[in-house]
Symmetry: C2
Subunit: 235 residues, 2 copies
Amino acid sequence: METLSVACEACPVRNKAICAALSGPELSGLRQIRRHQFIPAGQTLVWEGDDAFVVASVTAGVLKLTKSLGDGKEQIVGLAFPADFVGRPFHDKTMSTVTALTDTEVCVFRREDFDNFAREHPELEHKLLERTLAELERAREWMTRLGRKTASEKVSSFVLDISERLSAETCHGSTVLDRFELPFGRQQVADILGLTIETVSRQMTSLKRQGLIGLSGRRTIQILNREGLAKAAES
Amino acid sequence: METLSVACEACPVRNKAICAALSGPELSGLRQIRRHQFIPAGQTLVWEGDDAFVVASVTAGVLKLTKSLGDGKEQIVGLAFPADFVGRPFHDKTMSTVTALTDTEVCVFRREDFDNFAREHPELEHKLLERTLAELERAREWMTRLGRKTASEKVSSFVLDISERLSAETCHGSTVLDRFELPFGRQQVADILGLTIETVSRQMTSLKRQGLIGLSGRRTIQILNREGLAKAAES
DNA sequence: CGCAACATTGAGACATATCAAGGAGAGTGG
DNA sequence: CCACTCTCCTTGATATGTCTCAATGTTGCG
């Protein structure tokens, strides 16, 4: 892994990540304990069950948080986009694996350093709390999808959800992208939705045939009828 | 709803809930904005989608957090035991319904009061952060169960999980209860696991026939072979 | 005791998984 | 620029687990 040197002031997520809580002198305190790091697509930052040595704030790219079951099966339990925070502060075990889906840049902290710093900076902890509460809400929404939706509803709501998250990233006002590239392949969509790759593929094709979405290349999706898709996403 | 008057010092969760962060004068500040309240089984504290007027800390009983889908179906996305915190501070919408499963007692706060108080008491926010991080972890574990486990694995892991949470409550050292009463009926177990009531029933019967658990009455479960049950819970 | 709510059991339908084959993209080397 | 190849995606046929519908059994309360 390669350490990059980027000034916090020039950071693309300066105003959105938890460090937005800090200014001037405090920020440079934080900078002293961080390491800006590049993670190539496919590489894993932390492993499920390991001692949690690090936490990190994402500045570019997308990561997945996964839990693996006895056999080869895995469930993706979270996604981390720029400005999101990964890892569990104040706790010594990591309970999910964090892996880069695309080439990624993160601000990494030794967990212990971060914990100490955070305890002395309530504003930072407050930002982190808000972010964690939002993430919890998202996880619960996701649980509903996993527990009570059909394959077709899962895929529809997934497409809508992702379009919103990717739009938030590019952040041109409140525009929602209607055409975007998925940062992952079919297997990973399946692991997000608790389905098999074949079922995801079939449902994608079905949505395409209904004229709700367009597919080009392997990963590009176009939403042709957002309203109709929203209807298909409801139970 | 009936307002009770219980001194914080005598509170059964005094040392476990987020208010454990406070002592003496700060605690009495918190006491001034709280209302101790009794909620009978079946009654709902807050509704999904409503403006979030209140947050609360549970002192006795069990509550469920649910999300409902278009039709009658619902998914339980969380359980709140004594010392747990419900509601979303610093945010104006409630995204899940909170309902008492058993007779319940909670410390209720107007959200605005709580927010203001919390911002002035970093120790309290810190406790809340730790609790929220733990809850997020639990939600993710639950997602894995919903997405990638079979009905039989779901029920087995559920029984183990509940036995641990109920034991934590009675808190006699590190004893784990082998015989306990579920605070909910079959339909609610189904809503937790993303199954139908019939499937839950069949799996319970099956575990019973395998000699892993014993069932008596409608809600009492006895774990006869914890190790075997753990094996059945893995994928 | 008798009732109402809840739980269990069975038979059949249906959705998704599994197994298996074929097709399209993207990168590589000629 | 085209053939080659590897990986990923799509499609089809069948198997299977869970849901649905329906009936029966049980619990606990008035």
